[in-house]
Symmetry: C2
DNA sequence: ATATACTGTTTATATTGTACACAATTTACT
DNA sequence: AGTAAATTGTGTACAATATAAACAGTATAT
């Protein structure tokens, strides 16, 4: 083994098992029977189940039986269910990125990043249910972070400023992703069921949110904007764009300030 | 019963059980033995456990035995554990708000709101682990939303714009809250353990995040900014403020645009 | 007084994640 | 070739957990 292999081995030990697996830091076994499954297969099966029936439906037993094996067989591939969740989360981020744009189109580039991130929540409604274990450290997740940084590359910003912008944008994308997911679910459930099944809480909140207790919120409850009952009138896509443009404006203004400061100096 | 009671009853049925409980929409029972516990007591006990040992440590059995009762006794107060989580989440938002500021100090008002929200994550590290069930509908949660809307009240914005700003700020607060929580945890674990216990992944990522695969991220990994190893040098509090100021700038610019458009017209 | 509704408890069940020992299988080494 | 070692999938077992159901005691309404 070369010296680099040793350090990669150490890296594997330093990372959580799921992360180490996602980086492929597992030496393939030499002896013993051939494997009948693969990590990719297991993760994909788990994702299929989660896509169909939600994250709560993902159990070791169900994954295994979907593949025609026993629950315990999975532990020959993945040390624990938590590690499987990490792998699922990373795999959900494994999609092709759009081509790079010229630096002048940074706003459009960042818009693409945010929309792409939101899309993960729509494609995999369970994505936001996976508990967060600190900053992203898995390969596809980091590819997304790299994507976010792409339009910022040529900007006159230090690393802290760049990270702050990524934090800003990714947090916004997450919030919108969760909301978008909820709306998708409600639409899928059907408006009739929404009305009677209690998914629409507008009527209840109109009673409970009083003018005295909630002077600022109450008008939004009354107008129905808070519960977004008429999402056809004002599609949330627009809401989402609106907030994003404010962030981009804030970034642009900071860049202009900095540019001005350079000229003055 | 008056007509209003009836509609409140209907409201109780329309809401999830946890939410109905949080609004106090439960008729006190007339007959039978006196209750030996209270919902408040149960929720507080659950919060104490979560504060101490994390959300995963909160089980019906543990809560009950902490109170000197059996697990099943809790079901006389709360229909399910999911409902208990809703109650915990709402209770974590039950704290006094700062006094209102003049409309001119809207930036400071919004800063207070964001910092206050982040503080919930620091005070209750489990807060972000509770799964989100759609938009907030519980009383203390809505009080927080009302708080966010307070500095926006006098602004020339329609309801959609106000909601968008709240979404923007609350999403940012959540992101920062989660990160701040992780940092608090790491600090509490101690830097020595962080170095050897694997909480600091810097070394591993330096190996794995290559220039070719991650051209934009790699410099931030190398400088250590991504993993925030030197959070003393550039305290995250500042990172956090930085992003917030960009949001506020974006909002301010929009207000100025609108004002300008009014003058032109 | 008595029926009724409620209390906390006991018992039981279904679902999980996963530890452990086993037999079969493939490879490395002698 | 033959044997030892490592690895595979499996069967069994266990512990934790949420919660359903039946029960005996208790406070109130009639």
């Amino acid at each position: 083994m070369s010296e680099q292999d040793i350090t990669l081995d150490e890296a594997a030990k330093a990372l959580p098992a799921g992360a180490a697996l996602s980086w492929g830091l597992v030496k393939p076994s030499q002896r013993g029977p051939k494997r009948e499954m693969s990590i990719e297969q297991i993760v994909q099966t788990a994702i299929d189940i989660a896509d169909k029936d939600g994250l709560a439906a993902v159990s070791m037993g169900r994954i295994a039986s979907a593949l025609g094996f026993t629950a315990m067989s999975l532990y020959r591939y993945i040390p624990s269910k938590d590690d499987l969740l990490i792998l699922m989360q990373d795999e959900a981020c494994n999609f092709p990125l759009p081509p790079e744009r010229p630096a002048s189109e940074w706003r459009e580039g960042l818009r693409e990043y945010v929309m792409g991130t939101i899309n993960v929540f729509r494609k995999h409604p369970w994505y936001g249910d996976i508990p967060i274990f600190g900053i992203p450290i898995t390969p596809n997740n980091l590819r997304i972070v790299d994507w976010a940084l792409r339009p910022l590359r040529e900007m006159p910003l230090n690393d802290y400023e760049k990270m702050s912008f990524v934090l800003l944008l990714s947090g916004y994308a997450r919030s919108c992703g969760m909301i978008q997911r909820d709306i998708d679910r409600a639409v899928q459930a059907g408006s009739s069921e929404r009305e009677f099944g209690g998914l629409n809480y507008t009527a209840a909140l109109r009673l409970l949110v009083t003018q005295e207790q909630y002077p600022n919120l109450q008008p939004l409850i009354m107008s129905g904007v808070y519960t977004e009952e008429n999402s056809g009138e004002n599609p949330v896509g627009n809401d989402l764009d609106f907030g994003l443009e404010r962030i981009l404006d804030g970034i642009e203004q900071y860049l202009n300030q900095k540019k001005q400061a350079d000229i003055d100096q």
